[in-house]
Amino acid sequence: MSLKLSEPAVEILSANKIYANGYQALLAVNLTIQEGEFVTLLGPSGCGKSTLLKMIAGLLSPSDGRILLWRKPINQLHETSRKISFVFQSPTLMPWANVRKNVSLPLELSGTPKHLIADRVSEALELVGLSSFQNALPRALSGGMQMRVSIARGLVTQPDLLLMDEPFGALDEITRHKLDEDLLSLWAQKKLTVIFVTHSIHESVFLSNRVVMMAARPGQIVQEFNIDEPYPRTQRFMVSNNFMHHAQSLQTSLLLASQKEGVA
């Protein structure tokens, strides 16, 4: 496997999370994600998958253990010249700013020169197919289009690691499939590392190299699955026997995990 030769992008070293009120959101997690991998964190609500993602992004700090990005803690990430991007569950756009201004936000915040911003924003908008909507306000767009703007904003900084927290969870199935496909082609094109949180088994099988199955109360990793299927994956893959097979084993594991939860 060529993936194993590359550098680890993310190393989670027995990181856990206990909130101030004593609630154990996440048992100690050990997980290594290689550069260029597409990994989904799959599990029911309350399994700590979002917590884990936010810890990787540095939005939450682990109560114990360490998280390294390119072998550096998050606060030294700037030494590696690597960039991370985060796409939230909701589009989190600025309602007062048009599409173009929303996408250029991270570049403006980091003080990127103006002439570079224009080109990069145009490129990102083209990637998500929204070039003709650059002057529209978010409220004029559909939910799916708003999510694309959010993804364009995530890509405009040319990140090495893209963290996505159930980005398509609120969208209808057809739009979601479309965006899943688009995301895969972006991932291949840009050689990104993606960590994708979802509660959909089908979405996780369709997208990822590897599925990390999590369970709740307390949040923990229960099993990992490799989805050794070739890319590019299309809608046809979704109706193949292999797809069903993967989905079934994930389903069984998820069932087992929730049964265990019931006993505990």
């Binding site: 992004a57 540095g58 985060f86 600025m94």
Partner: protein, 274 residues
């Protein structure tokens, strides 16, 4: 049934021209004026008790010079007070948001200021402050200040948590968060504050004029009302009252207009339903 039918048609047509918004309140106003005129005529009410609307408008024209001068004084005080309250209120909110400790320490006093009736403090202010106009401006801005503080502070804090997270992820500075996130998020609340404060500034100005007028100084509309009351010149009292109300309405409408212009594109409170 015939009339109901034709009235539906009529309403539909009005809707098509979208005049309803202006026409319906105007119609109510005219009906009230008509009823009022009728009552005065039928019940033969003397003008020193209830003047008819026609007499009120006649007086308004006859005494226009006096009343216009008074109107100008009141409007001047109101606008100065409103401006001062807006400026101070916004500054204080910015301080509150930058330092929660400051907010904790000072907010109770802002409330104290708000709950103390202005009529009770106005005499003191008018005694302490030499300049009459300034003392009245001060009174009126005290009344108008609190909604500006509370609304703007609330607005500056009302940020979508994940949008805030996004700014933090991108290492945004405090200044960037303030100018690019907090201020735009606060605008709808700020304009809400403006609407309330503009009306309160007028009320504050009128109260201050009353207090000052009782002491024998003043020239605004409230002073005119006071004087007209002493002279039992009730028609002039009504004319002055009308001017005060119209000033309040004008203030409200202009604030609504500004808010619509500023937020029309994006904030749900100002988006016209289609």
């Amino acid at each position: 049934m015939m009339s109901e039918n034709s009235s539906t048609n009529w309403t539909e047509r009005m809707q098509a021209v979208s005049w309803r918004k202006y026409f319906s309140p105007l119609l109510i106003g005219l009906i009230i004026l008509g009823l009022w005129q009728m009552m005065v005529v039928i019940m033969e009410l003397p003008p020193y008790l209830v003047p008819s609307p026609i007499l009120m408008f006649k007086t308004l024209i006859k005494d226009w010079l006096t009343l216009a001068l008074a109107l100008w004084t009141t409007v001047k005080i109101t606008l100065l007070a409103f401006g001062l309250a807006t400026l101070l209120g916004t500054l204080i909110s910015f301080l509150f948001v930058q330092s929660p400790l400051l907010e904790m320490a000072l907010f109770p006093y802002a409330v104290l200021l708000q709950v103390t009736p202005i009529v009770a403090i106005a005499p003191l202010i008018i005694i302490w402050v030499k300049d009459v106009t300034f003392s009245m401006v001060l009174c009126a801005s005290l009344v108008a200040l609190f909604p500006m503080i509370s609304n703007t502070t609330l607005g500056l804090k009302s940020i979508e948590p994940d949008l805030m997270n996004y700014f933090k992820l991108n290492q945004a500075t405090r200044w960037q968060i303030l100018t690019r996130l907090r201020i735009p998020s606060a605008l709808p609340y700020f304009f809400g504050g403006l609407r309330i404060s503009s009306g309160l500034a007028l009320i504050g100005a009128v109260v201050a004029e009353f207090v000052a007028g009782t002491g024998g100084t003043g020239s605004g509309l409230a002073y005119q009302i006071l004087q007209a009351g002493f002279q039992l010149n009730i028609p002039r009292m009504f004319a002055a009252l009308l001017l005060i109300s119209l000033t309040g309405v004008a203030l409200f409408l202009s604030m609504a207009w500004i808010s619509q212009k500023a937020l029309g594109g994006w904030h749900s409170s100002e988006i016209q339903s289609e």
